[in-house]
């Protein structure tokens, strides 16, 4: 890995830390908060691509694990992984990777703007929602014993927020792609 990639990864992890300054919203009926940091998944995938994006989140998880309060609301430490959010948090790495793969595959320079928007939006939805929920929800169910169906029903509450995040991430990723393209630069 060249030095520039290493720095890009670190800077993106720092951006995810910064997103954590937006306070989380706790809903009454599901034990996992709504957080702006999951938008980082979509942004990292669509902007840095699969490999560097996933590594940025791996680095972020390392920060959490060694006891830095970088999760929204100033949380951190190993305890977080043992809680109900653990699966979602670990899932961020995989979800970013998938988002990145799709974005790299479907978005190119020189395409009409609309195509690029659609590409980024699909990547964000599939990676940042479908894949992420597929990891996070069974985890909640497995460690808490709550039936999967109940967890899934509760998780519906994330959907409006996550769709909004996908929309913001799409616009931002498009702006970055137009202003400072990194997606296809070889990692």
């Amino acid at each position: 890995m060249n030095t520039r990639d290493l720095v890009l990864i670190a800077l993106f992890a720092a951006i995810v830390v910064a997103l954590g300054l937006i306070p989380p919203i706790t809903l009454g009926f599901i034990p996992v908060p709504i957080t702006a940091q999951s938008m980082g998944v979509m942004l990292a995938g669509c902007i840095l691509g699969a490999k560097r994006g996933a590594l940025a989140f791996l680095l972020f998880l390392l920060l959490v694990a060694i006891g830095l309060p970088v999760l929204s609301g100033g949380r951190g430490g190993l305890a977080v992984f043992a809680g109900p959010s653990g699966g979602f948090i670990l899932g961020w790495v995989v979800a970013t990777f998938v988002t990145g793969l799709i974005a790299q595959r479907f978005v190119r320079e020189g395409q009409p703007e609309l195509r690029q928007f659609i590409g980024f939006f699909l990547a964000s939805i599939i990676g940042g929602i479908v894949v992420l929920y597929a990891i996070g929800m069974p985890w909640v169910s497995a460690i808490t014993g709550t039936p999967l169906l109940a967890v899934a029903t509760g998780s519906l509450a994330f959907l409006p927020g996550d769709l909004l995040k996908a929309a913001i991430a799409t616009l931002a990723a498009r702006a970055v792609f137009a202003g400072y393209p990194l997606l296809h630069v070889r990692a």
Partner: protein, 201 residues
């Protein structure tokens, strides 16, 4: 704002090497997930709670750190009461509480540099395979800590620039320039790292 959750102290846990804390943590999670016995979970809960409170943390701080996870766990317990028998809910709840307390105790008694040393050891097989360099990981970690304040400062500057131009401050128009300007720094920072010989290839 990025101060570690480590707590200064000289407790028994503080003096243990990291590995002697991480291995039991892993072992405990496996054990507790395999066991369905209420007494076992209860014992684990009491011991973990005792350990956590023995590290020299104030009650307030102790509660603040695990409060959020506790809240979610109790909430789940309440939900589970509709689906599962009481004893099973007890097992599930105590298990999670025990693990969270133990993990919080490890976090509170381990410094970042102790973690980093352990990570270096854990990475050494991969290092031999040429996949990743431990030195790169600690460099990346330092970079994050170094540049988070810069990102805040830049966020502030972009917000103010919006105001100065009479533009509404919307997340959408801030996040684009914020990311571009931040990532653009990567070129200079990378050049500086190479120029100062921070990486031994």
């Amino acid at each position: 704002m990025l101060t570690s959750l480590h707590i200064e102290g000289d407790s028994w846990l503080h003096r243990l090497p990291v590995r002697a804390k991480l291995l039991p943590l892993v072992a405990l999670s496996i054990l507790l997930f395999l066991s369905g016995s209420l007494p076992v979970q209860l014992t684990a809960f009491v011991i973990s709670g005792g350990l956590y409170l023995s590290v020299g943390i104030s009650w307030r701080e102790a509660l603040k750190r695990v409060g959020f996870v506790f809240f979610t766990i109790f909430f789940l317990a309440a939900v589970n009461l509709f689906f599962l028998p009481l004893s099973e809910v007890g097992v599930l709840t105590l298990r999670l509480l025990a693990l969270v307390l133990f993990a919080a105790a490890v976090t509170a008694t381990t410094t970042i540099s102790a973690f980093m040393d352990e990570i270096t050891v854990l990475l050494s097989p991969f290092e031999r395979l040429g996949w990743v360099l431990a030195a790169d990981v600690s460099l990346a970690l330092g970079l994050v800590l170094r540049f988070v304040p810069d990102i805040f400062a830049r966020y502030q500057a972009i917000r103010e620039a919006h105001r100065a131009r009479g533009l509404p401050v919307r997340p959408l128009t801030i996040i684009g320039p914020l990311i571009i300007l931040t990532l653009k720094d990567a070129d200079t920072i990378a050049a500086a790292i190479d120029a100062r010989g921070f990486r031994r290839q």
